[in-house]
């Protein structure tokens, strides 16, 4: 570590040199690896060593269980689809094969997401002559986890570029964006390539190495896609969705893996427990209302608690809705924001036949409404205090 630090210090390019990009890259890497020794020139200010880069890394760490599980599950679904193992008796055999296959499929997505996104960040940092901003560390990890496995790499690259440039950099970079960057990527893919991303197809990849392909691809409906069309019995049981060996986007299937990440986020206080709790409350309320008015609609009869386990609800509530930049900032606002997202997510999922999954769009709508919610909370607070002053 010492040697590395000395080496980095030796490599440091001049900040006012001819190559702003070189300095930006060096600065970004250095402050990523070592806590920078910034001190204030005047006045007394205490700096916490947990700066933005450290915060971001904790979120990335929280995502690791989802990523590892996702890698394994991709391989698992692959061999399940090929028929190499009998369903239910698949956990022990072919373990390494599954992991390797999952790595082959998932790693390129991670590399593309980080490569394109950080590349754009570096270029913008060089043009604006400010240090590289660290916001993409989390987005770059979220993006591979919420896309289907077999997404063409070019599409992913285009979507990431769109989201980083138009969703974030034009707003002034990290901390200024209005919509969650990862969700903008997902929404862009969803609406720009609807045939590839309609969200109702199962994303199981069966193609082997070239020339050996058994079938071009195996596509059936996702559990939620089937449910919208009326086949509610296709929905996995609560137990299945808690463990997570079900088809779906890479990171969203296992409640256990998500829960591990959630524990870390809550323990470190990075994610707001108010938003997480209120999102689940909102989802439960909406599911409960649907249960009461269900009639003979089978999808509405799915128990409210079960609805929360399905699809990307838990993943979205814990990792995306809690984004401190795009969410609400006031405590009262956080409750409203979370409940709004929960209600909309279940509402879109059940009542809107166009989208089998509503969490992504619900959180985007929540992001759009967040500034207004904050505005209302703050201005009503001002009014309350003014009244107090007047009466006194």
């Amino acid at each position: 570590m010492k040697a590395l630090e000395e080496f980095m210090q030796k490599m440091k390019p001049k900040s006012d040199g001819k190559f702003p990009l070189a300095h930006a890259v060096w600065d970004g890497t250095y402050t990523f690896l070592f806590v920078p020794g910034h001190t204030n020139k005047n006045g007394v200010h205490i700096r916490d060593s947990v700066d933005l880069k450290r915060t971001m890394i904790i979120v990335v760490l929280a995502l690791i269980p989802c990523l590892l599980f996702g890698i394994y599950n991709v391989g698992h679904q692959h061999f399940l689809a090929l028929g190499d193992c009998v369903a239910g008796d698949c956990a022990t055999d072919l373990f390494m094969d599954k992991v390797l296959f999952g790595l082959m499929k998932v790693l390129p997505l991670v590399v593309i997401s980080y490569g394109v996104g950080l590349g754009i960040e570096f270029i913008f940092a060089a043009i604006n002559r400010h240090p590289i901003q660290e916001g993409f560390l989390v987005s770059g990890m979220l993006i591979p986890l919420i896309v289907p496995v077999d997404i063409p790499w070019a599409m992913l690259a285009v979507a990431v570029a769109f989201a980083v440039v138009l969703g974030k950099e034009v707003f002034g970079g990290t901390g200024m964006n209005v919509l969650n960057v990862a969700l903008v990527t997902r929404a862009f893919l969803f609406f720009a390539y609807p045939t590839k991303m309609s969200g109702d197809q199962v994303w199981t990849n069966t193609s082997l190495e070239e020339g050996q392909a058994l079938v071009d691809g195996y596509s059936g409906a996702t559990p939620l896609g089937k449910a919208v069309e009326g086949g509610v019995e296709a929905i996995p049981s609560i137990m299945e969705s808690v463990i997570g060996f079900i088809p779906g986007s890479i990171g969203e299937t296992s409640i256990i893996a998500i829960g591990l990440g959630a524990l870390l986020l809550l323990f470190t206080g990075i994610a707001s427990w108010r938003i997480i709790l209120s999102t689940f409350i909102g989802g439960y309320l909406m599911g409960f209302v649907f249960n009461q008015v269900a009639g003979d609609n089978l999808f509405m009869q799915v128990p409210a608690l079960h609805q929360l386990m399905l699809g990307g609800f838990a993943f979205g509530a814990i990792f995306m809705a809690t984004d401190p930049v795009t969410g609400t900032q006031t405590n009262a606002g956080k409750w409203v924001y979370g409940i709004l997202i929960g209600i909309l997510a279940i509402l879109i999922r059940v009542a809107n036949p166009a989208y089998p999954e509503g969490v992504m769009l619900a959180i985007l709508i929540g992001n759009v409404c967040a500034p207004l919610i904050d505005h209302v909370v703050i201005s009503s607070n001002i009014k309350k205090r003014l009244k107090r002053v007047k009466t006194a």
């Binding site: 034009v170 879109i348 985007l364 500034p371």
Partner: protein, 204 residues
């Protein structure tokens, strides 16, 4: 239920701003602060609720093919729908003038709050757009047309208030020079439209 359906559909699914990009000029110009946005938004709701049913009556009693049959048999085959643009805009402009005078007379406070926005609404294309969509949708009765007007106005209100809150929030962001101001508002409208696509396809 029928009325609720029309309301939800016109307010969220066929949102005037995010789906049709109507009324953009005042939407972009007045959305700098939440306060003015609320003022203009309420004025739009008000005018839409008043003009849409009047235009509906005009459409069914005068303009539609065969609408003039109440005058006598020789008028039963008349089709005046080619006049609808000019008639609708004339109705809107005169109603806005009338409303302005009434508001000024009876509620000076509201008149002061709405200010210049009230006369500006006469040329807001969301109002004419709502009248023309109303003509196209062929509502069964005047109640439905009124609810349609209310819903469209409410959707426009939501859109302008939301973007105003966002623009207040990003006022101090380090936005690249060329994107500041209207450029940012255009981009924001597009991104918000992306989010609002979630309502597309709702069936109640």
């Amino acid at each position: 239920m029928e009325y609720l359906n029309i309301f939800i559909k016109s307010a969220f699914i066929d949102n005037m701003v995010f789906t049709f990009f109507f009324g953009m000029c005042s939407y972009l110009a007045v959305s700098k602060t939440v306060k003015t946005a609320v003022g203009l938004g309420s004025a739009v709701i008000f005018v839409l609720v008043v003009t849409t049913p009047i235009n509906y009556l005009l459409e069914t009693l005068v303009l539609q093919e065969g609408a003039l049959s109440w005058l006598g048999d020789e008028y039963a085959t008349m089709d005046l729908s080619f006049l609808s643009f000019i008639m609708f805009i004339a109705v809107i402009a005169s109603i806005v003038q009338l409303v302005e005078m009434l508001v000024e007379k009876f509620s000076p406070a509201l008149y002061g709050a709405l200010g210049i926005f009230l006369p500006l609404i006469a040329v807001n294309c969301a109002i004419l757009g709502a009248a023309l969509f109303m003509q196209q949708k062929q509502f069964a009765n005047i109640g439905q047309a009124t609810v349609y007007g209310l819903g469209s106005g409410f959707g426009w209100f939501i859109a302008i208030v939301l973007i105003a809150a966002i623009r207040e929030k990003i006022k101090y962001s380090h936005i690249p020079g060329p994107m500041r101001g209207v450029g940012m508002a255009f981009l924001l409208t597009g991104l918000m439209g992306l989010a609002f696509l979630g309502f597309l396809g709702f069936e109640l």
